[in-house]
């Protein structure tokens, strides 16, 4: 697939985030920070209304939108900022749009603006990916 500026893709990447989702991610990533699975700690120690999802889970979900679109190892660079926390019950949609095409390290690539929104249309992840475009 050859990408051109303006090409877009989007996908619902998780529906109704649950403590099961964050627990699965904790086990898979090795990040057992209790803020992501233990409401007692999240509320008592840190003052959050409840647990919230790992930022890196949102990154991984956003990455899934990209690999489903572009193929598993097309990514050359993938960077995100976490702009809002993801809470239990949230449903996330990841979106991408090609903003430029060119070369990177001698390969043809596309630069893609990526973002992930919650059910209120608020961005929880914003970033950019550089992917092989051949």
């Amino acid at each position: 697939m050859t990408l051109k500026v303006g090409d877009k893709h989007e996908a619902v990447v998780i529906e109704k985030v649950s403590r099961t989702h964050t627990t699965k991610y904790a086990g898979a990533s090795g990040d057992y920070n209790p803020l992501h699975h233990d409401d007692g700690v999240a509320q008592g120690l840190a003052g959050y209304p409840s647990i919230f999802a790992h930022g890196m889970l949102s990154m991984g979900l956003t990455g899934r939108m990209l690999t489903d679109w572009l193929g598993p190892v097309a990514l050359r660079k993938f960077g995100v900022r976490f702009t809002r926390q993801v809470w239990p019950g949230d449903t996330l949609t990841s979106k991408g749009e090609v903003i430029s095409v060119g070369e990177y390290n001698g390969e043809p690539v596309a630069t893609i603006k990526v973002w992930t929104e919650n059910q209120n249309g608020e961005a929880v992840v914003e970033g950019e990916a550089v992917a092989l475009n051949a």
Binding site: I14, G27, S29, T62, G63, R64, L75, K77, F82
Partner: protein, 164 residues
């Protein structure tokens, strides 16, 4: 709310600045099939290349490829000597900051990473910045982790942690 009148001392101490660029202890990450599958499942992948070795090979990969955001699993050994967790955090800011948020992560991939690979990585602080935002005074710690396979750099991960 009025601003405090006295000038506050910087959060970032000279001892903290001295850690910039100092490479931390090297660790080993194994990329194995079970963990690739577990990570792929946790992030909702359905592409068989992350689960089925034959599908991965048919698609041209050496083995199951790493899903985005996964760079292997550190080897856990409860018998290994443990670092003092406060020492592992390094020098601390002039005022205590209790909360921490992941401000962002960027991964640069310089080679395909697949199950069976063993990566070694070392992390260093590349930048310290203090700023004020909607959540008050914040310390932004940027760290870089360089992942190597047989001495070749295969990925560089840059992360920002926000302490406040």
């Amino acid at each position: 709310m009025s601003a405090p009148t006295e000038a506050k001392e910087p959060l970032i101490t000279p001892e903290m600045r001295a850690t910039i660029g100092v490479e931390g202890r090297s660790t080993t990450q194994e990329v194995d099939r079970t963990m690739v599958r577990l990570f792929a499942r946790a992030t909702g992948h359905t592409d068989p290349v992350y689960y089925d070795v034959d599908a991965a090979k048919a698609a041209g990969y050496r083995d199951l490829p790493c899903p985005p955001g996964f760079l292997g699993t550190p080897i856990f050994n409860p018998g290994a000597p443990r670092m003092d967790p406060t020492a592992a955090m390094g020098p601390q800011p002039s005022r205590p900051l209790r909360r921490i948020l992941n401000g962002g992560t960027e991964i640069e991939y310089l080679a395909d990473i697949c199950a069976g690979d063993v990566l070694t990585s070392a992390t260093h602080t590349s930048d310290l910045e203090e700023t004020k935002g909607s959540i008050g005074e914040m310390l932004v710690v940027t760290s870089k982790t360089v992942y190597k396979r047989d001495g070749e750099v295969v990925a560089i991960s840059t992360g920002k942690l926000i302490r406040y």
